[in-house]
């Protein structure tokens, strides 16, 4: 059904000149071919990154690919859509049946995770333009104290939880809104976002990839996938001499040191270990409960950020006479003539969804904190220096600093047949 004719003035009849109304032209569709090209480039770049890190063990290759990714995905394709943001589209598609995720966005979300399950975080190494930008800026890394490193890493889990809450409830894509580099890729944007981007880049001069390590929500998922990866970079191609150079030079605190021999401290008795394990296990439900309680309150507060809830509150205040005047949004609402009950109903449903999502988010954060403490409480025995699979960004720096690796590369360079460094380890 259509409402009454929109026209106040009747369409003209050109009786004298017989003028023909122009037909509408100049309505181009979006060039979609590029979206598919992006997926192909992403796949090739991921495969290349895996080969460069695991087979060639080449830091130079990683740098070259990083520059390409920064230029292509960053400055040429303007950073949209990226894998980090695609998690929100996927989350929204799971919770909102009216939203269907585009195929290319799904590919951007899933491909790096699949690669991480096999080869570790090769996406972070040289494919993600955000990571590449910060990595190429790194001039003089400062050592982050371990306690600070572990504490700050938790921020990314919280950020992931928040982004999921907002995406699932239709409250917007906060990862995209607060993406520090997108304004630089586009060479336009609000002053705040440009300053934020420049700030992150300035920090990257001395802190290795601050966004990747402490904030990136997609990095959390990649880390979890990489923790069980099929192949992972081994720092040395032959015997580890425990020189600790790799650990000293890793800018991301992503190397697990070998267990010192002899042990500097008396190892705790089995009884003490059992008690510690029990305490740490009991702490998990406490953290989860705490998270649930905080998430409940946070959900209600976050709901007010949603446009519908916000508008409903405003309209309610206006009709009850508590506030005078209108906002642009409430004016638009009054002009549209939607019944208030409908708006209030929607706002109520949304608020309930936010509280539910907030509780889930709280449980997630509580679990993460609990499990983090549990894993920090126990150290695995290691024979050699190893990459921390979850947090290693596969930048290939440690190979360069490993004297054994350099020795092998020299020997291989003189070998009659071309051999890959990776083959030498077999």
């Amino acid at each position: 059904m259509a409402t009454a004719l929109a026209q106040r003035f009747p369409p003209p009849e050109f009786t004298e000149t017989g003028h023909q109304m122009p037909t509408l032209t100049g309505f181009p569709s979006r060039a979609l071919a590029w979206d598919y090209v992006d997926v192909v480039v992403l796949f090739v770049a991921l495969a290349l990154a895996a080969w460069l890190v695991l087979r060639r063990r080449s830091r130079r290759g990683v740098i070259a690919l990083s520059i390409f990714s920064l230029l292509y995905f960053g400055f040429w394709r303007k950073g949209c859509v990226c894998s980090i943001g695609s998690m929100q589209n996927i989350t929204q598609a799971l919770f909102d049946s009216a939203y269907a995720v585009p195929l290319t966005v799904l590919a951007f979300g899933v491909l790096p995770l699949v690669f991480a399950l096999f080869f570790g975080r090769v996406f972070c190494a040289a494919v993600c333009p955000h990571g590449a930008f910060q990595d190429l800026m790194l001039l003089r890394p400062l050592h982050t104290p371990t306690w600070l490193e572990h504490g700050l890493r938790l921020l990314a889990y919280v950020y992931l939880g928040l982004a999921a809450i907002f995406a699932a409830t239709g409250g917007g894509y906060i990862i995209c809104q607060y993406d520090p580099f997108i304004a630089l890729f586009r060479l336009s944007g609000s002053l705040t976002m440009i300053l934020l981007g420049v700030g992150f880049l300035a920090a990257s001069l001395f802190i290795g990839r601050p966004y990747c390590r402490f904030l990136c929500p997609y990095g959390v998922l990649l880390g979890l996938a990489a923790a069980v990866a099929r192949w992972r970079p081994s720092i040395t191609p032959s015997a580890c001499t425990q020189c600790s150079r790799c650990e000293d030079f890793c800018p991301f605190n992503a190397i697990n040191i070998s267990t010192p021999k002899p042990a500097p401290l008396q190892p705790p008795s089995p009884m003490a270990q059992k008690i510690r394990l029990t305490v740490l296990l009991l702490l998990i439900p406490i953290f989860v409960g705490l998270g649930l309680w905080l998430g409940d309150a946070a959900g209600a507060a976050l709901a007010r950020k949603h446009r519908v809830v916000n508008l409903a509150e405003r309209v309610h205040l206006e009709t009850s006479g508590t506030v005078q005047g209108t906002t642009e949004a409430s004016e638009a609402f009054h002009a549209a003539g939607t019944p208030q009950e409908k708006l209030f109903g929607e706002a109520h449903t949304l608020r309930e969804r936010y509280v539910r999502a907030g509780r889930l988010g709280g449980i997630w954060v509580g679990l993460v904190v609990g499990i983090k403490l549990l894993t920090l409480g126990f150290r695995r025995k290691r024979e050699r220096y190893e990459t921390d699979a979850e947090h290693c960004l596969a930048c290939a720096r440690c190979f360069e600093f490993c004297p054994q690796d350099q020795k092998w590369k020299q020997i291989l360079a003189q070998a009659p047949h071309p051999v890959h460094a990776a083959d030498a380890t077999k």
Binding site: P10, P22, A100, C176
Partner: protein, 183 residues
């Protein structure tokens, strides 16, 4: 194979199956492969934010003229200031801050108005004039040769009327028609 490798292998297979299941579920649901952002001209309240909130230096939003519903008025309320000195093309009489509307005499009393797109900044001043007092043939649309299709449209985020949504990319424009607002 040690215990750790076995557990990792199981976790890996589980993760792959999970990702596969997720993809399968979303693909089954996906009816449209692509979406683009567009303004619903019936919801637009011509607030002017389209000109300023777009991430592009010059907004991807442009005014378009739907000749079909235009009244070809001599005193076009989208073209002229509320109380013009004279119904002439003098800059002081025009509503458009960039002079992006071309007024052409056809026959008495009809004039044709055309948007000179490169000059248009998407400020919606003409849309407001035309919609409030005329037929509403001027309205804003996101031009897809300019739009970079951000994952989160920053104009949509700022729009007070919630008039910007994702629509299927095979039908990327929302035009008004003579029949009026669809219910």
């Amino acid at each position: 194979m040690n215990r750790r490798n076995f557990i990792n292998g199981v976790a890996r297979v589980a993760a792959l199956l999970g990702l596969g299941g997720l993809a399968a579920r979303l693909l089954q649901h996906a009816q449209v492969a692509h979406t683009v952002w567009q303004i619903d001209p019936w919801k637009c309240t011509y607030c002017g934010k389209c000109a300023t909130e777009c991430v592009l230096e010059l907004s991807a939003v442009k005014c378009v003229q739907f000749y079909d519903i235009c009244g070809y008025c001599d005193f076009c309320t989208g073209y002229f200031e509320p109380q013009p000195n004279k119904l002439s093309t003098g800059a002081e009489n025009q509503l458009c801050p960039t002079g992006a509307i071309v007024r052409k005499f056809i026959e008495d009393p009809y004039y044709e108005y055309t948007i000179n797109e490169p000059l248009c900044i998407g400020c919606a001043k003409c849309v407001k004039g035309c919609t409030l007092f005329g037929n509403g043939s001027f309205h804003l649309q996101i031009k897809h040769d300019r739009c970079v299709n951000c994952n989160e449209c920053s104009i949509a985020k700022a729009c007070p009327a919630n008039a910007i949504h994702r629509i299927p990319s095979n039908k990327p424009y929302l035009f008004k028609t003579r029949e009026g607002k669809p219910s």
